[in-house]
């Protein structure tokens, strides 16, 4: 399976995916920690994918989304953004709205 197919499979199997440095319980980077904590705060059940464990995945996810940085948040296969956008969406209340619309949280 190509790395791209692997990414598609991860996105298909998990409604909310966070490609991050480290894990939700032990983030290795402040930006990854910020997004992970935001999701936890909203009681979102999400899959954290540690890109530090897989160099191919780390490179391919950047091509996949045409986005050069980690973390990257996906909801129902749609790329939502990196740390800055997630922070803005959270502060405006739009992240919660989006998660409710997509039936991730109540």
């Amino acid at each position: 399976m190509s790395t791209k197919d692997e990414i598609i499979k991860i996105l298909e199997n998990n409604d909310v995916c966070l490609f991050m440095k480290g894990t939700p319980d032990a983030p290795q980077c402040g930006f990854s920690m910020a997004v992970s904590n935001t999701l936890k705060h909203l009681n979102v059940n999400f899959k954290g994918i540690n890109i530090l464990e897989d160099e191919n995945l780390r490179n391919e996810i950047k091509n996949f989304s045409d986005w050069p940085t980690i973390p990257q948040l996906y909801v129902k296969k749609e790329f939502i953004g990196g740390c800055d956008i997630v922070k803005e969406l959270f502060e405006s209340g739009d992240l919660k709205k989006l998660l409710i619309e997509k039936k991730i949280i109540n």
Binding site: K62, D66, W67, P68, T69, G81, C83, D84, I85, E88
Partner: protein, 77 residues
């Protein structure tokens, strides 16, 4: 190789000439910045597209020479 505030500004201006740019060196290490960028070119684009435009202006330096640049974008009338 770290980038200076002036270098970052210059790169962004080359791609987004009307940009009003405010960059802060967050910890004084030439490596962790925040940038606020306003441009007419952002009007009618999604946030993702706006940020992509800024990343593209940095010509692959983002995530490499430039470790951390937090971005806020805004359109302009």
């Amino acid at each position: 190789m770290a980038l200076t505030i002036q270098e970052i500004e210059k790169l962004i201006k080359e791609s987004i000439p009307d940009a009003i740019i405010q960059i802060k060196d967050l910890v004084g290490d030439n490596n962790h910045y925040s940038a606020k960028i306003c441009s007419k070119m952002f009007n009618d684009l999604s946030k993702i597209e706006q940020h992509k435009m800024v990343y593209k202006s940095l010509k692959g330096k983002m995530g490499n020479e430039l470790h951390a640049l937090s971005i806020t974008t805004e359109g302009k009338k």
